[in-house]
């Protein structure tokens, strides 16, 4: 995802799950010591180790991470209404009002006015609390925007690793604490571990604090069941990433090497399909590894992908794709804006706003805005008109998703509008075929990538996923995972010494 790609790379591979160093050094060392030390020290170990790994890759930005953890820890404590139980009654009414406003239950019009009126008449303490809340949100959003803004104009200005993700973790924490949906974390170590934990720092999933709060003390101890289950997730994720996504990345690279103006129309479609699958297996694989590590140490298992390509509408696709980000925008932006409770026009505006923000979050170039906008338009159309049709026609709805999503991924993938235009003219050759197109390119690439594309497509089918889940303890499945792991390692080992894996001359 662009969330990964635009951020600084890690020179020592300390945070790169698909690196041999991480798999055979950093991860085993962490787990070994995690198991050996007393339960009370485990959270501290997770925090310390996470910061160490982050520091090895980002020697300066680690201070930003620590600073943001400290600031948000303090904000959380200050915002926590539960810390003063004796005052709970006094603020309950306000809290309910704010909650209704935030969740869109407040009256359709005048909620801003209502807020300000309440603000003006609020007790100093509550007013301070709200101001503090706004300040806390501002700090986090300002930092994210500042880095993204600078990066937009100067690509050499790299974003700190994981900034987009840990900012969203912070925001969800602050909002939940402010709403009273969770108590603030009293322990700086536990809060730091929640925010900085290395399995999630680079690319999520955006685990809510309230989902993890109960597990951050690691009181459940080490379980052999979770060790095995987490290991299986890690191996499956690694195979998805290394054997499928990295392989398909070569196809997309080939298209770019040839230049979009010289690819045939069938190859343009093959490229769109390949890129769509590459993105999915890359990010899904990454998420599986992240969740697998979390599962081994006792964190909740968070589902970030749920067979998105089996969806029957774009809305459904994004309920199944990067689910923690989707639910973040739903809970903290869409519903507070009024959700779908304020009429069709307002719903459409809310959806478009959410999707423009989603686009911006993914990257700061025009194509991401366009991507978000396009998705917003499709989702609005579905909401306003298409939904009954899609629900009625099973096959057509699947085809619709499998057509629209790869096309939107092309907008996502190609930063230059000019290049994007060229690509779409190759997908839809309205201007005829340029002279420099090699008509045989499709078959050549298909011969190379058909097996990988086929395997990838098979694993997009929910029934296949369910079968794997059901048979995950079968000897054959375990043997297959064992073989896949070492096959992936073989690929990785030889890619290390081959900087031109994507481009043999």
């Amino acid at each position: 995802m662009a969330g990964i790609g635009t951020e600084a790379l890690d020179g020592f591979n300390t945070l790169v799950f698909g690196s041999l160093e991480f798999l055979f050094r950093y991860l085993p060392l962490f787990l070994l010591i995690f198991c050996l030390i007393p339960q009370k020290a485990r959270c501290f170990w997770l925090l310390a180790y996470s910061l160490l790994l982050y520091w090895a890759g980002e020697p300066w930005y680690v201070f930003l991470l620590v600073g943001m953890a400290a600031v948000n820890y303090l904000f959380g404590l200050s915002l926590d209404r539960r810390k003063r139980p004796e005052e709970a009654d006094e603020t309950a009414e306000d809290a309910e009002g704010v909650r209704r406003w935030l969740t869109g239950e407040a009256r359709p019009e005048g909620e801003w006015k209502e807020l300000f009126v309440r603000e003006a008449h609020a007790e100093p303490d509550d007013r301070n609390r709200r101001l503090l809340f706004v300040l806390a949100l501002f700090c986090n959003l300002f930092l994210l925007s500042w880095f993204k803004w600078n990066n937009a104009f100067d690509k050499s200005y790299l974003l700190p690793v994981g900034l987009s993700f840990y900012t969203f973790k912070n925001l969800s924490y602050l909002i939940d604490v402010y709403r009273g949906e969770t108590a603030a974390e009293r322990s700086p170590v536990r809060f730091g571990a929640y925010l900085c934990m290395f399995p999630q720092i680079v690319s999520g999933p955006i685990m809510r604090y309230r989902e993890a709060a109960g597990e951050l003390s690691f009181e459940r101890g080490i379980s052999l069941y979770r060790l095995e289950s987490g290991t299986k997730r890690i191996v499956a994720g690694l195979a998805a990433k290394v054997l499928i996504a990295d392989r398909l990345a070569i196809l997309w690279n080939d298209l770019q090497t040839v230049g979009f103006e010289s690819i045939s129309t069938p190859l343009a479609w093959l490229g769109a399909a390949g890129y769509s699958l590459q993105l999915y297996f890359d990010f899904w694989g990454y998420s599986l590894i992240a969740v697998g590590i979390g599962e081994i140490i006792g964190l909740p298992v968070i589902r970030n992908f749920h067979h998105p390509y089996a969806s029957r509408s774009v809305s459904e696709f994004y309920r199944r794709w990067h689910m923690t980000l989707g639910s973040f925008f739903r809970d903290y932006v869409y519903i507070p804006l009024g959700g779908n409770r304020k009429g069709r026009g307002r719903t459409a505006c809310n959806l478009l706003a959410v999707w423009l923000l989603t686009g911006l979050w993914h990257g700061n170039s025009v194509n991401f805005l366009l991507w978000g906008f396009a998705l917003g338009v499709f989702i609005v159309l579905e909401r306003l008109a298409l939904r009954p049709f899609l629900e009625k026609h099973c096959l057509l709805s699947h085809l619709y998703v499998l057509l629209v999503i790869p096309l939107t991924w092309m907008v996502f993938a190609i930063p230059s509008l000019r290049e994007m235009g060229i690509y779409f003219l190759r997908l839809f050759p309205l201007a005829g075929r340029p002279e420099t197109v090699n008509p045989g390119d499709f078959l050549k690439e298909l011969r190379s990538f058909a097996p990988t594309l086929l395997i990838a497509a098979v694993f997009c089918v929910p029934a296949v996923g369910r079968w794997c889940e059901r048979h995950k303890n079968d000897t054959a499945v375990i043997a297959a995972l064992f073989a896949l792991f070492w096959l992936a390692v073989y690929q990785m080992a030889n890619a290390v010494n081959n900087p031109f894996m994507y481009a043999n001359f």
């Binding site: 040839v258 375990i478 080992a493 043999n504 001359f505």
Partner: protein, 391 residues
């Protein structure tokens, strides 16, 4: 046992990882001594997998079938050493750490004793001279290599582009055995039918010319991604696909005679050996082609440059190192049977980098720019029968 029963995958992975690490450590000075060196920070067990790619397994005997390291091979000065040097990265264009032409490679070229360079070339040419026209190759212009190696990185300034810069020695080749006098030929504009009896030999860049140059109905192409001069005539490398099956280059060149042969190789070899070991192999290959195709006009093409970003950041694949080799390739030109073409004249900017935007990966031209290469070739045809063209 309980552990194995409860978490078989985790246990199996841990045990196998430890076993492979032990194997790697035990053999790190044996069969794996050439792996995992240099800046490679990968864990020890990676060596086992790197070795497996080259066909080196824990049970492989130490010694005989070990891929030789390029540096060692190059130092030996033997042409065969150069050939062995092509092994380590395998046919995928990979280069083992330390095996390449490292930043100091320019220095290596500059500091190499002239006698040594001459001796290597002489060896190669001696071997090659067995062919019918073997004696035609002029003395290698080692002074050209020397001046280039010590020059600046600006290829535009450093390389005598075009034909004007050819030395006196090249303009006056030795009298050939067939009594053709000392006639040389100049380039003329030709049309695509000129290439009807042409053969192109090269790596993925020539493959690109085949796919996007629009020459598929005219010329024959023997090319393969990551093909190197060291592999070119290898018996086990049957990279030429024909209706009858796969053929080696020797077989293919023995079966049919071509009127013109275009050769562009050299970018994949840059991480292997030295400019000298490369040139030795190159000269051998050219002579071998001449033996098999005595009537063909042979066009040795200078290696195409890389784009600016790669040139500035890559210690191996940069235009300086390319030009060191190109100067050597150019010395093979006799303007009678062997002609040197440098497509960099038309695909590079004033700094000698591939034009901005002409390459995505900094190495290959984008599809539509292969036309420029094709046009360049058509502007540089040699028509030996043409009256009055001889000098």
């Amino acid at each position: 046992m309980k552990l194995l029963k409860r978490c078989p995958l985790a246990v199996l992975l841990a045990v196998s990882a430890l076993a492979l690490t032990a194997v790697a450590f035990a053999n790190r000075n044996g069969i794996y001594r050439e792996y995992g060196n240099g800046k490679n920070t990968a864990p020890a067990l990676a060596m086992v997998f790197e070795g497996a790619k080259d066909g080196v397994f824990p049970w492989s005997p130490d010694g005989g079938d070990m891929p030789a390291m390029a540096d060692a091979a190059a130092e030996s000065g033997s042409p065969d050493g150069g050939s062995a040097a092509a092994h380590p990265g395998g046919p995928d264009g990979g280069f083992p750490e330390g095996a390449g032409l490292m930043p100091e490679a320019g220095g290596t070229a500059a500091n190499a004793p002239e006698e040594e360079a001459e001796r290597q070339t002489a060896e190669a040419l001696e071997e090659a001279a067995d062919g019918p026209d073997g004696g035609e190759i002029p003395d290698r212009a080692s002074e050209g290599a020397e001046s280039e190696a010590s020059g600046e990185t600006d290829p535009g300034a450093g390389v005598p582009y075009g034909t004007e810069g050819t030395s006196e020695a090249e303009a006056q080749p030795q009298t050939p055995e067939d009594g053709d006098e000392d006639v040389t030929w100049d380039f003329v504009q030709v049309d695509a039918s000129y290439l009807d009896d042409a053969l192109f030999i090269g790596d993925s860049r020539t493959q690109g010319l085949f796919e996007y140059g629009g020459l598929e109905d005219h010329a024959t192409f023997f090319c393969k991604t990551s093909l190197t001069i060291y592999d070119l005539f290898k018996n086990e490398l049957a990279f030429i696909k024909t209706d009858a099956g796969s053929q080696t280059l020797t077989q293919a060149l023995s079966e049919r005679q071509y009127g013109k042969i275009y050769l562009m190789l050299g970018i994949n070899e840059m991480g292997t050996g030295t400019p000298e070991s490369f040139f030795t192999e190159y000269a051998k290959a050219v002579m071998q082609i001449r033996q098999l195709q005595p009537d063909a006009i042979l066009f040795v093409q200078g290696i195409m440059h890389v784009a600016a970003k790669k040139n500035a950041s890559d210690p191996i694949f940069n235009n300086f190192n390319i030009d060191v080799r190109n100067v050597e390739i150019q010395t093979l030109e006799d303007k009678r049977d062997i002609f040197y073409l440098d497509v960099n004249e038309v695909v590079c900017d004033e700094n000698g980098n591939l034009f901005d935007g002409w390459s995505f990966d900094q190495v290959h031209l984008k599809g539509k720019y292969y036309q420029v290469w094709k046009d360049f070739l058509l502007q540089h045809g040699i028509v030996r029968e043409q009256e009055g063209n001889g000098n």
